[in-house]
């Protein structure tokens, strides 16, 4: 069972689509909820750092696993 409130599969998408989808997914979550994102665009690492910094959300996790990038964002 997943430990996250919501999952987002952004594999195969380039900037800004993963960010755009994450923003939409977070919009319907409550404060403290978590969003797990999987992406393949290497640029998404910097993008999600910048996104969480600018939106005040918390980037709980950012890691690369076998060529895929996994992020966990906690909504502020």
């Amino acid at each position: 069972m997943s430990n996250y409130t919501e999952e987002l599969d952004a594999r195969g998408l380039n900037c800004p689509l993963p960010i755009l989808r994450a923003k939409k997914a977070l919009n319907v979550l409550a404060s403290g909820d978590t969003l797990h994102i999987i992406a393949t665009d290497p640029g998404s690492v910097k993008d999600f750092e910048s996104f969480t910094r600018q939106t005040g959300s918390e980037l709980l996790e950012s890691q690369e696993i076998s060529g895929e990038f996994s992020f966990v964002i906690k909504k502020s």
């Binding site: 900037c15 800004p16 960010i19 755009l20 923003k23 939409k24 996104f51």
Partner: protein
């Protein structure tokens, strides 16, 4: 008298001058001697920083690739609907080419010279924009919010219109379009593109 530069400054100045020359004449049209002459140094100084002309060319290209647009602000600062995001993305892209048109010149030179590796880098820079259009059209089709059937063709049409604007305004400075700003033209093609694909905002 020219100022003595440290290694980092020297490398940056070589890349800056090489970029202008490669943009004007292509990879094959420029020699190491010419770049050195333009910098006021000997070719040996260039070879201290880059082992070959190819290595210098790649450094120029990679520097341009590093300056790839970021669309974070585009996403954060405004509505999320397809038309609004596309307009903001294309304005960011156009602004970046307008500030540094050498990117477009080098892209054209690279195509003429059939440089496969560098061509891919140039294609990648357009890809964020064209992928956004393709994925969005596929999604919008599910809601009958567009009537174009081929999403990939949609991306290509938009790219063609954008490239022509940027080429006319930033590369050849066609006097016929002097009265129009890049921003005005980009706004205009956005509206026409949305009409052409039969876009209606999903309810």
């Amino acid at each position: 008298m020219s100022k003595r530069l440290n290694a980092i400054e020297r490398r940056a100045s070589i890349i800056a001058v090489a970029k202008i020359l490669f943009a004007d004449k292509g990879f094959h049209g420029v020699s190491v001697d010419e770049i050195a002459r333009r910098l006021g140094v000997s070719p040996a100084v260039l070879y201290q920083h880059f082992e070959s002309k190819q290595a210098l060319y790649e450094a120029v290209i990679f520097e341009m690739a590093d300056q790839r647009e970021t669309y974070i602000e585009v996403v954060l600062n405004g509505p999320d609907d397809f038309a609004s995001v596309l307009l903001r993305m294309s304005l960011v892209f156009a602004d970046s080419v307008e500030r540094d048109p050498d990117f477009l010149r080098m892209e054209m030179q690279s195509a003429l010279e059939n440089e496969a590796t560098t061509q891919q880098l140039f294609i990648n820079r357009w890809k964020d924009l064209t992928d956004y259009i393709e994925f969005s059209i596929r999604e919008l089709k599910q809601y009958q919010a567009v009537n174009i059937t081929d999403a990939r063709l949609g991306g290509l049409i938009f790219k063609g219109m954008m490239r022509e604007i940027l080429y006319s305004k930033c590369v050849i400075h066609d006097p016929h379009y002097r009265a129009y700003s890049v921003k005005t033209l980009v706004g205009n093609i956005n509206s026409r593109f949305l009409n052409a694909i039969g876009y209606v905002e999903p309810g």
